[in-house]
Amino acid sequence: MQVDTNGFHCFKGLVKMLRQGDDLCYQAVKKEDAEKVQSMTKDEAMVYSYIEASGSEGIWTKTIKAKTNLHQSVVQRCLKNLEGKRYIKNIKSVKYPTRKIYMLYNLQPSIDVTGGPWFTDSELDTEFISSLLSIVFRFIASESLPSEDDKPIAPPPKHRKRKSSSKKSSSSSSSSKEKQVSYDQLSFPASYSKYPSLSDIHDFVQNSGITTVDLALSDIKALVDVLIYDGKIETIDDGMSYRVVLGATAENGADLGGDEDGSGGVAWDAYTEVPCGHCSIVDLCKTGGPVSAEECVYFDEWLIQ
C-alpha cells in the first residue's frame, strides 16, 4: 500500500491504524463498518472506536469518558444515538452489577462479563443449578449403587443352610430365616471400578438434553464439588471417580427430614429433637432467668407429643 494514499483511506475509514509492539500497522475495515462510521459525527465515531476496541469485554462509560476526554453530557448523547441506531448495546456485568457497560451490538458478551453458564441475565440461576445438581446426583447414585439387575456373588444360601443347620440345634434354622429379612445389604465390592468419572458425568449431562447451555468439564466439576460439600457424594480412587454416600437422599441429603431417614437417623439427632436445639433464645435460658426450662412452653408441647 502506498504511503500517500494512507491519509485518504484512513479518512474514508477503510483502514485502521494499529500498533503491534513498536511497529505501526494497518488493517482493512469492512465497507459496511466504514460506512457506519462515516455516518457518525466525530464524537460518536471516537466513542464507537473505543467501544469497538473493547471487544467482547465491553467498556464502562466512565472509562469512555476518561479516554475520549469528552464531557459527560456529550458522551451520554453519543451513546444514546449509537444505541438508537443499534450499533452498540448496554450489557450488565456480573462482576460490577452497578456499572453501565457498552459493547458492539452484534457481539456476545464474554464469560467474564456474563459469569458463565450459571448466570442468566447476570443473576445466578439458582433453580437451574439446583435442578442440575439433583440430576447429576441421581446419575451418580444410579451408577454407584447396585440395581435390581445386579446379582450377589453368592445367593442367600437357602439349600446350603439347610444342610449345615441340620447338624446344629433346631433354633438356628429358624433364626436363619429371620436373618434374610434383617440383614439386607447389597454393595459393590471395594475393587469395583465402574464408578462414574468426571467425563462420564459430563457426557451424561451433554447427551441427556437437559440443557442447551454448553457446559464445560470445569462447570461439571463445580457441580460435583458442591455435591461433595453437601455430603451427598464422595470421591474415591484419589478423586478420579465419584460415588454416592449412603444415607444421603436425592432431594435433600443433609437436610434430613424425619421420614427420609427413618429410625436410623433418630439415633443421630438427639440434640435437635429437644426444643433447645432450635431455640433462638437458648442463651438467655437458665433457672431463674427470663426464660427457664421449668417454665418453657416448648417443653410442654414436646412432652405431650
Binding site: 456373588i153 436373618k179 447389597l186 454393595s187 455430603g231 436410623g264 433447645c276
Partner: protein, 634 residues
C-alpha cells in the same frame, strides 16, 4: 469441664443425694481444691455436716483427697472429680442396660453394676457374702472382670491424678543429682521424661488380662460351673488360662468407666458403618471391634498401641449364620476381581478348615443368644432407605437363587463344605475391604496380608472424621443444608473470602451472608480481618472466614450438656408440680401396692409424670452419646 457441665452435675447430685452433698461438690467445683476448714467457710456449712457428706462422696470417688507427702499430718485437700461424677450419674442407666444386653444369661451381672453404682467400690468377699446367690454373683463378677467392665482399685486411686503425677515427678527429680554442668531446666526435662514413663506404668496397672482374677480351685464344684459359663467370654481375654480364672475375693472392685466409653464408642462406630455401608458389613465390623476389645482400655490418653486384628480371627468369632456373600454385588462386567480371589483362596483353604471347626465348638448358647439380640437391634435400626434396598436385594436374590441351585447340584458333599468355607473367607475379605476403602471414613486400616489380613483402626483419624460428620449433621439440622455446605467449604479451604465461598457454593453472595453470620453466632465460624492498607477501612479489608474444629466442638458439647441440664431440671420441676402425688408415692405402703392404693385420677397423673420422666431421661442418655463422640472419644 465448664460451668455448664458443673450445673448438670450439681443438679443431679441435688436430686439423687440431697442438697448437702450438692452444696459440697458445688463449692469444690467452683473453688477448686480446699481443705476442710476452707470448705466450711466457702460453703457456709458446719464442718461436721461437711464431713458427713464427704464420706459417701469419697466412697464413690466423686471427691478425691490428697495429703501432701512432705506434711503427712496436715489436713487433706479435697478435690471434686467431675469426670467421674458425670460418668457415674449420667451413664448409670446405659451401663446397666449394656450389661443386661451383653450378659443375657447372667442375671446377677446388672445387679452387680447397680450395687457398684450405689456403693462406689466393694471388696469382692463382702459382696459375695451379702449376695443372695453367691455362685451367680461370683460368675457375674468374674465375667465382668474378664471384659474389664470391672476393675480393681488401689488406695492411691482415691487421690487426684495430677497430685500423683507430681509425686512421681518429684521422686524422679530427686533421683537425678544436681550438677553444675547440667542446667536446672535440663534436669527437670529429664525427670519429666522419666516421670511420664513411670506414669504410663501407673496408669496401665489394671490393664493386664488377669487383673482381679485368681486361678480357681478346680476341686470345688463352684468353679467348674463358672468355668463353663465363662467360656463364652473367654474370647475377650487373651490369656489361655482365662477359663480357670475366678474373681479374687480379696480384691476391691469398682466400675471401669473408661472401658465403658470404649464400648460406647464401638457401638457408635458400628452404627455408622451400618448407615454408611450396610448391615452385614456392620456386623463384620462389630466383630472386628469385639476382637480388638480386650486390648482397648480407654479412649483418651491411651498408652497402648491400637491392637491389630486378623481376618482369620474375625472369621473365627463371626456369627456362623451371618450370610456374607449375598450382600456383595457381582461386578456388572467380568473384571480383574478373579485375580484377587484366587490369591486369597490359596491362603485360606488350608488354614480355614480348622478355624471353622473351632468356631463351631466355641459357639455356645450365649453366642447365638447374643447374635440374635444383635439382629434384633439391627432390625430396629434399619431405615426406610434400607427398606428400599431390601426390596432390591430380595428380588435379586430370588432371581438368582434358581440359577445358582443348578450350579451347586454338581458338587460333591465334602468338597462343597470346603468350598463354602473358603468362599466365606473370601467374602469376609470383601467386607473388610469395604471397610478399608472408605476415604471419607476409614473404618479399618489394612496393615499386611498376614494371617488373612492384618487390620487396625486409626482411631484419631476415624474419630476426627466422625466428629466432623456429626457436627455437620447437627449444623445441617439446626441451620439448614446451605449452612452445612458453606461450613464444609470453609473447612476444606482453610481461610476463605466470602466471594470465593459464593463462587464455590454456586450461591449468590447476598444469600450466603445470613448463613455465615448465623454460623458465626453459634460459634462454628470465626472471621479474620486482613487490611489492605494502614487505614483499616472496611472497604479495603479482606474478611476471611475460618473454622476451628476444637473450639466449635467444645461449644457444641457445651450446648448439648446445657440441654441435658434443662431436661433434668424439667424432670425435677414436673415432680415439684405434683407435691401431693409425690408424697403419696414416697409412702412405704403405697410403694408396696401402687395399684390398690392410688385412685384412678392419681394413676392417670402418675402415668403422665412417668411418661415425661421417661422421655427426658431417655433424651439425656441419647444426648450423652453425642457427648461421647465430641468429648470422650479421643
Amino acid at each position: 469441664m465448664s460451668q455448664f457441665d458443673d450445673a448438670l452435675l450439681v443438679l443431679l447430685l441435688r436430686d439423687i443425694y440431697g442438697p448437702l452433698v450438692a452444696t459440697v461438690v458445688d463449692t469444690l467445683l467452683k473453688e477448686g481444691r480446699l481443705t476442710l476448714p476452707l470448705l466450711a467457710r466457702y460453703s457456709s456449712l458446719p464442718s461436721s455436716a461437711i464431713q458427713r457428706a464427704l464420706i459417701p462422696l469419697i466412697q464413690l470417688r466423686f471427691v478425691l483427697y490428697w495429703v501432701p507427702d512432705d506434711r503427712p499430718d496436715s489436713s487433706p485437700y479435697y478435690v471434686a472429680a467431675p469426670d467421674r461424677i458425670y460418668a457415674a450419674l449420667v451413664r448409670a442407666g446405659s451401663f446397666v442396660s449394656y450389661v443386661e444386653d451383653r450378659f443375657p444369661d447372667l442375671p446377677a451381672a446388672p445387679t452387680v453394676v447397680k450395687n457398684l453404682l450405689l456403693y462406689g467400690h466393694i471388696r469382692a468377699s463382702d459382696y459375695l457374702a451379702a449376695a443372695a446367690d453367691a455362685d451367680q454373683a461370683r460368675d457375674a463378677l468374674t465375667a465382668l472382670l474378664k471384659c474389664k467392665l470391672l476393675t480393681t482399685l488401689s488406695r492411691a486411686e482415691f487421690s487426684p491424678d495430677e497430685d500423683r503425677y507430681r509425686a512421681v515427678f518429684k521422686q524422679k527429680l530427686a533421683l537425678i543429682p544436681r550438677k553444675t554442668t547440667v542446667s536446672e531446666t535440663k534436669r527437670e526435662q529429664a525427670a519429666e521424661a522419666d516421670a511420664q514413663q513411670e506414669w504410663i506404668k501407673v496408669m496401665s496397672v489394671h490393664d493386664f488380662p488377669n487383673d482381679g482374677l485368681v486361678l480357681s480351685d478346680k476341686k470345688t464344684k463352684k468353679s467348674s460351673s463358672s468355668k463353663k459359663r465363662s467360656r463364652d467370654y473367654a474370647l475377650s481375654s487373651s490369656s489361655s488360662t482365662a477359663d480357670n480364672m475366678v474373681v479374687d475375693e480379696s480384691a476391691i472392685l469398682t466400675l471401669n468407666h473408661d472401658k465403658f466409653v470404649v464400648l460406647m464408642r464401638s457401638q457408635v462406630l458400628a452404627a455408622l458403618a451400618r448407615r454408611r455401608i450396610g448391615s452385614v458389613t456392620a456386623a463384620v465390623y462389630e466383630q472386628a471391634l469385639e476382637c480388638m476389645e480386650p486390648k482397648l482400655f480407654r479412649c483418651r490418653n491411651s498408652t497402648t498401641a491400637t491392637p491389630v486384628v486378623t481376618g482369620l480371627e474375625i472369621l473365627k468369632h463371626l456369627d456362623p449364620h451371618l450370610d456374607l456373600g449375598s450382600s456383595i454385588a457381582a461386578p456388572r462386567r467380568k473384571r480383574s476381581s478373579s485375580k484377587s480371589s484366587k490369591s486369597s483362596k490359596r491362603t485360606s483353604s488350608s488354614v480355614d478348615s480348622e478355624s471353622e471347626s473351632e468356631s463351631d465348638s466355641g459357639s455356645g448358647s450365649s453366642d447365638s443368644e447374643r447374635s440374635r439380640k444383635r439382629r434384633r437391634r439391627s432390625r430396629s435400626r434399619s431405615s426406610s432407605h434400607r427398606k428400599k434396598r431390601r426390596k432390591t436385594a430380595a428380588s435379586s436374590s430370588s432371581s438368582s437363587s434358581g440359577s445358582e441351585s443348578d450350579d451347586g447340584s454338581g458338587d460333591g458333599d465334602g468338597s462343597e463344605d470346603d468350598k463354602v468355607k473358603s468362599s466365606r473367607f473370601e467374602h469376609l475379605g470383601m467386607h473388610l475391604a469395604l471397610l478399608c476403602h472408605n476415604p471419607a471414613l476409614p473404618f479399618l486400616k489394612k496393615l499386611s496380608s498376614r494371617g488373612g489380613g492384618e487390620y487396625t483402626i486409626d482411631f484419631e483419624v476415624l474419630m476426627g472424621a466422625i466428629q466432623a460428620l456429626e457436627y455437620d449433621q447437627l449444623i445441617a439440622r439446626k441451620q439448614g443444608a446451605v449452612a452445612c455446605r458453606l461450613l464444609r467449604i470453609i473447612r476444606s479451604k482453610g481461610r476463605i473470602d466470602e466471594k470465593q465461598i459464593a463462587q464455590i457454593a454456586l450461591l449468590p453472595v447476598k444469600d450466603i451472608r445470613a448463613h455465615l453470620t448465623a454460623l458465626h453466632e453459634c460459634g462454628s465460624l470465626d472471621l479474620q480481618e486482613v487490611p489492605k492498607g494502614t487505614d483499616r477501612a472496611p472497604s479495603r479489608t479482606y474478611y476471611l472466614w475460618f473454622h476451628k474444629p476444637a473450639s466449635a466442638y467444645a461449644l457444641m458439647t457445651q450446648q448439648i450438656v446445657r440441654t441435658m441440664t434443662r431436661c433434668y431440671a424439667r424432670v425435677v420441676e414436673e415432680r415439684k408440680k405434683r407435691p401431693g402425688i409425690m408424697s403419696k408415692l414416697a409412702r412405704e405402703d403405697v410403694k408396696r401396692d401402687e395399684e390398690g392404693m392410688l385412685t384412678a385420677a392419681e394413676k392417670e397423673e402418675v402415668k403422665r409424670l412417668r411418661a415425661a420422666e421417661e422421655k427426658m431421661l431417655a433424651q439425656i442418655s441419647r444426648l450423652d452419646r453425642l457427648v461421647v463422640i465430641f468429648r470422650d472419644c479421643i
